[in-house]
Assembly symmetry: C2
Homo-oligomer: 119 residues x 2
Amino acid sequence: MPTSKADKAESLNNMPLIAMIKLIGGKYKPLILWRLMTGTKRYSTLRKEIPCATAKMITQQLRELEADGLIKRTVYPVVPPKVEYTLTPQGESISPVLQTMYEWGQKHLQTNQPIKTKT
Amino acid sequence: MPTSKADKAESLNNMPLIAMIKLIGGKYKPLILWRLMTGTKRYSTLRKEIPCATAKMITQQLRELEADGLIKRTVYPVVPPKVEYTLTPQGESISPVLQTMYEWGQKHLQTNQPIKTKT
DNA sequence: CGGTATCCACCTAGATACTG
DNA sequence: CAGTATCTAGGTGGATACCG
């Protein structure tokens, strides 16, 4: 059974990483998940905690995370509207990854000068 | 001592994550670093191991990684040309992050159906 | 071998205004 | 409150051709 170039490429153990990147590769996704790790949050709370992202972005990323089964969106039929976001078990299982990223970032920020912003 | 909105936002412990994302947020950067974790690689080798990225992309990402001090580029003045890429200590320090990402991806791919491609 | 240069289709993400 | 709609500048990344 011949191995195609693509197969060979993907069997180089790249797939898990690729899968991961697809899930949390979004610019603000790690941030959102990170914030939700401390518990259920309302939309407006998330916005406040991630002010560098616009409403549109937050919403978009939340929808994608929801579609990927990482978070759950709960709408309370009250007025004024209330929407809460929670990590699903799937989403919670990413904690170690975020934790590791966070710790590395922390160490890096201590020992090095601030990361230069690209652009 | 008053905390500005921006300060408050960034003091929510988002910074380390943001730093991390800036460094390895590039589409192929985790892949490149991951590949280099198994040792020094030539440019052509990297290209073969990450066929989903074009030459332009690989080169670009390599340059950024180099600029960020994560990898070292060594040119051997021979003919035909030979260029090798190696992780710097800084780059190696990211291993745990990639490792964690990889492991999560692996587990996820086992228990779940393939990640659906966005778009 | 290890790139660069150029062109271009798409995508991203911000700003702004509006809604149930 | 929690979005959606629209427009748009700028960035991303693929294809292709060429170079030292």
